[in-house]
């Protein structure tokens, strides 16, 4: 079953239809992606805009919740890019790919002893491997003991 454009338009939910009556879809109208003034014809209803006469900032015409509602509904019908841009919000996969992770989540600080543990273990292993040389350096008589141990013959 393939839908024609006329049939498909009838499927547009009232919420989106109402929005498009007030703010026509993107290629037919331009919307600024930055906060502008309330008198600006390209004013974005999802962003705060300034009243130049009074110098006061107006809250966005659509709250974050309502804008998310509109976007998600439009997304289900594949027309989310016709809405005015919502630069301050991310949705679905994009929201997770562009997430600003906390430093502590990406790299755990841990305790000091935990941070220094691998280095410490490595040093210890090296020291155990070179144990005879280190002792012989401090105690020259130990060389004899090493020689004796090396010359020890075993009957098997």
């Amino acid at each position: 079953m393939s839908l024609s454009a006329k049939e498909a338009f009838k499927k547009l939910p009232e919420k989106l239809h109402n929005f498009f009556i007030k703010y026509p879809p993107r290629p037919f109208a331009e919307y600024s992606s930055k906060p502008s003034t309330i008198s600006d014809p390209n004013m974005n209803p999802f962003l705060p805009n300034k009243n130049e006469e009074t110098g006061k900032w107006h809250e966005p015409r659509f709250s974050l919740r309502r804008s998310a509602d509109l976007f998600k509904m439009a997304y289900k019908f594949g027309i989310h890019d016709l809405l005015p841009p919502i630069p301050h919000k991310r949705f679905y996969a994009e929201k997770y790919y562009n997430k600003n992770w906390m430093r502590g989540v990406l790299f755990q600080k841990k305790h000091k002893w935990e941070r220094e543990l691998p280095e410490k273990l490595k040093e210890r292993e090296e020291a155990i491997a070179k144990m005879d040389e280190i002792i012989a350096e401090k105690r020259p008589g130990y060389k004899k003991q090493i020689a004796k141990r090396n010359n020890k013959k075993v009957w098997w």
């Binding site: 024609s4 454009a5 009838k10 547009l12 009232e14 037919f28 289900k76 027309i79």
Partner: protein
């Protein structure tokens, strides 16, 4: 239970203090008591006090065998239990105390009076009196008491457990007779008078109180029953309208001067564009559940859309005229 917490809040709660501090307060309190009447121990906190008969184990009138102190080894009658100190007043345990003249009772001739002493509950054991076959009186002292089946005691007008000596459970220690029952005096009402029925409702159809009486009892001219408001009341209910500031007036004038914002129907172009995009998207969806969901979603209605369409239609109608 009292809801009045204000009084308690400002009182000193000595029970919650440590023992050393409590002793200090006890000593301070004893400064104002009569000599030989000073209290030696701080009362138990309220939650530790025993108030139920079953918990205490005896009632007034029971016999007690004294195990400590001067009167050790004697049997006496309990005449009062004090839950504050968990101790009892016994009939025979008294000491001489000094009483100043203002506190003397009638027919008193000496400063020295016999005053009952508190004996700790742990220093007494429950005792009972009985006669053997020869009519000789003997006492039974219970080291411990156990309770068994309950029975209704008509003397106390309540259910009480039977008391037995632990280990010798054939020996029952009955509860003593309660202190003398209250007697009628010249002011008391007779029981027969209390139960006498002096008024009876004759008919449900007829009200018990004559209709005219109600108007006499209740005030028909009460201001709360009036259907009309006085001018003062009306003024109080409806506050005065605040005058607009100059800025507000200018703003409103500007608003009315501007032409009202009018919405238009989506043009054919836009409708086709949106329809094509949606058709593109929907034709690629294969999941029937998703399609069903979108179908339901597309049928959802909002009142705001109705309002917008009505406004558009009205505007179109005015333009045609």
């Amino acid at each position: 239970m009292s809801w009045n917490t204000a009084r308690k809040r400002f009182q000193r709660n000595v029970e919650s203090y440590p023992k050393a501090l409590r002793d200090v307060y006890l000593a301070r309190a004893n400064r104002f008591t009569l000599p030989t009447f000073e209290s030696k121990e701080w009362p138990f906190p309220k939650n530790e006090r025993k108030t139920k008969t079953e918990e205490i184990g005896f009632v007034n009138g029971d016999l007690a065998y004294i195990t400590e102190g001067e009167k050790k080894g004697t049997v006496s009658t309990i005449f009062q239990y004090s839950p504050e100190t968990d101790s009892v007043l016994l009939a025979d345990v008294t000491s001489k105390k000094l009483l100043p003249k203002p506190y003397w009772v009638e027919n008193q001739t000496s400063h020295l009076v016999d005053y009952p002493d508190y004996v700790k509950k742990s220093h007494i054991k429950l005792a009972a009196k009985d006669r053997d076959e020869n009519g000789k009186v003997y006492y039974v002292v219970a080291d411990k008491v156990i309770y068994k089946e309950k029975y209704y005691d008509d003397r106390y007008k309540r259910w009480l457990p039977r008391r037995y000596v632990k280990g010798h459970e054939s020996i029952e220690i009955p509860w003593p007779n309660p202190p003398s029952e209250p007697k009628d005096d010249y002011l008391s009402t007779k029981e027969s008078t209390v139960f006498e029925k002096s008024y009876e409702l004759q008919s449900l159809a007829k009200p018990p109180v004559p209709a005219g009486v109600l108007a006499e009892l209740r005030n028909p001219y009460s201001r709360y029953k009036k259907r009309f408001l006085t001018e003062a009341d009306a003024r109080r209910i409806n506050g005065p309208e605040m005058p607009l500031t100059d800025e507000q007036k200018i703003y409103l004038a500007k608003k009315t001067a501007q032409p009202p914002k009018v919405h238009k129907r989506l043009s054919e172009d836009i409708q086709d564009f949106i329809g094509a995009r949606i058709a593109d998207h929907l034709n690629n969806i294969e999941n029937p559940a998703m399609l069903a969901h979108l179908d339901v979603l597309s049928k959802s209605k909002i009142p705001d859309f109705q309002k917008t369409m009505k406004q558009i239609e009205e505007h179109e109608a005015t333009q045609q005229q």
